[in-house]
């Protein structure tokens, strides 16, 4: 579980996060949604420790990241898996080396054991026979799956995903969403996904947090999002006609 308490973050005079308080539950896919510029990515970077909030605390299980010394923070990061928007695979390494990278850095396993684990996670993300290919030689969807494999290879406790569906066709996007949710349940990890894709909210939003202008304006499940009268939610969700129609149907059905 990750607990966020009254987090404030500014860049110069501009306050980006204005007192965010929430919890991200273990074993669930927690979604941070909001329009561009609402502070989603800044919150994610604060959670990852890449940005230091001026005020407030972020707890990983029971310990605040602000109270951890460098060594504790380094150990915490070994327990974090991250799926970046563009995949962030290392160009100079082939797929096998990319996925093996966290194992090489943080474990003392023999190469054969590492290779076995790499093949296991690649199989888990439905990728086989790509070990010797380089990132530039595979599709965007495959790169995302390799990135997921790299994120989970060292059995993390926390998984963060930044816009996992950007640049993907709807079918592949759904596939990635489903994979993230399956892995969350399978490994019983705390997953935090930053997105503005309503399909993702519908597919995997077990807990949804809506940010607007740096403030948390609503939180609930993907089922509750269609029933709430919160104006900010309706403005965000029903900016598309498709979702307006879905809401009408849902309200008729009670």
């Amino acid at each position: 579980m990750i607990k966020v308490e009254d987090v404030h973050k500014s860049f110069g005079e501009e306050e980006i996060l204005k007192g965010i308080t929430t919890e991200f539950d273990k074993g669930k896919t927690n979604l941070i949604i909001g329009q561009s510029g609402s502070g989603k990515t800044v919150l994610l970077k604060c959670l990852l420790g890449l940005f230091k909030p001026e005020q407030g605390r972020i707890y990983y299980e029971d310990k605040a990241i602000q109270d951890m010394d460098d060594e504790e923070q380094r150990k915490l990061r070994e327990e974090i898996g991250m799926l970046f928007q563009g995949g962030a695979l290392f160009d100079s390494m082939n797929i096998e080396e990319n996925v093996m990278f966290p194992l090489r850095m943080f474990t003392k396993q023999k190469k054969a054991d590492m290779l076995e684990r790499v093949n296991e996670v690649l199989k888990r993300v439905n990728l086989e026979n790509v070990n010797k290919k380089f990132p530039a030689e595979i599709s965007g969807g495959m790169q995302k799956r390799v990135s997921i494999a790299r994120a989970i290879v060292n059995k993390p406790k926390f998984l963060f995903c930044d816009e996992p569906n950007s640049g993907l066709d709807p079918k592949t996007a759904t596939l990635i969403d489903t994979l993230i949710q399956e892995i969350t349940h399978e490994y019983d990890i705390t997953t935090v996904v930053v997105t503005h894709d309503m399909n993702s909210v519908m597919e995997i939003g077990e807990k949804v947090v809506l940010l607007k202008n740096g403030k948390l304006v609503w939180q609930g499940t993907n089922q509750e999002i269609f029933k709430t009268d919160n104006e900010d939610v309706t403005n965000f969700v029903y900016s598309s006609d498709l979702f307006k129609k879905i809401r009408d149907v849902q309200l008729k059905e009670g």
Partner: protein, 246 residues
């Protein structure tokens, strides 16, 4: 003000490069890769330029000797002094600022743009140590490139001087041995070490702290060449003043 900030951030970068080391086995692999990318792959262009510039120095010297009282051995002497004191350490370093410096900036800059550096940081890896330290170690082998350049520069001068009919082989070799001061080699290699550090760190700083997209990677590479060259020339002047004019 921005220049002061940049200088500060350069020294803070150096502090982080030497802190929180990457796993030794990984680092060893990275160092060998950098030696290949930065040193071995530069030998071809260094050999080509050194040989022909050495030849040109010999020909220019010979063509400017219109007084019959000046001994032909001066061609060898002038070639040696030019190549050992300035051409090999300084001129080759400027060329390396273009070749190796741009390569370092664009490779680190591309990693910044595509979030690969963020990926390293999120994993708890000191990205500066992982990316820059192996380059500094690899460029400690740069003096070998300069030895290679000196040898081929003088060889080029000998070929041009002897086969161009400007001097006999014995005159040229006598010139090479004339008034040889071993301290000049110390001077040449001392500044080579300083240049190698500039070559590894300034382009790395340009790439690591760049902001933006692919276009900015190109701009950063250009800036990298300009600033690395400026610093090499400035350091050359200061070192020469300190070591040779005393």
């Amino acid at each position: 003000m921005k220049y002061l900030q940049d200088i500060g951030s350069y020294f803070l970068m150096l502090k982080r490069v030497f802190g929180s080391f990457t796993k030794t086995s990984v680092l060893r692999h990275l160092i060998f890769k950098e030696i290949n990318d930065l040193i071995i792959s530069s030998l071809g262009i260094v050999a080509f330029i050194s040989f022909f510039v050495g030849g040109v120095v010999a020909i220019q010297t010979a063509l400017n000797m219109d007084n019959p009282l000046i001994p032909k051995s001066l061609i060898g002497f002038a070639t040696r002094q030019s190549v050992v004191l300035e051409f090999a350490p300084t001129f080759i370093s400027i060329i390396m600022a273009g070749k190796v410096g741009s390569f370092i900036t664009s490779s680190i800059g591309s990693m910044r743009v595509t979030e690969q550096i963020d990926a390293l940081e999120v994993m708890g890896i000191n990205s500066l140590n992982y990316l820059v330290f192996p380059k500094i170690v690899a460029l400690m082998f740069y003096p070998f490139v300069i030895v290679f350049s000196m040898f081929l520069g003088i060889m080029g001068g000998w070929v041009a001087g002897v086969y161009g009919g400007f001097a006999s082989s014995s005159d040229f070799i006598a010139g090479l041995q004339e008034d040889f001061i071993p301290y000049h080699l110390f001077y040449a290699f001392f500044k080579t070490f300083v240049f190698s550090f500039i070559l590894a760190t300034v382009p790395s700083w340009q790439g690591y702290y760049m902001k933006g997209g692919a276009l900015e990677v190109g701009k950063a590479s250009t800036n990298s060449f300009v600033w690395t060259s400026v610093l090499i020339i400035a350091a050359n002047y200061i070192i020469t003043q300190l070591l040779l004019s005393a």
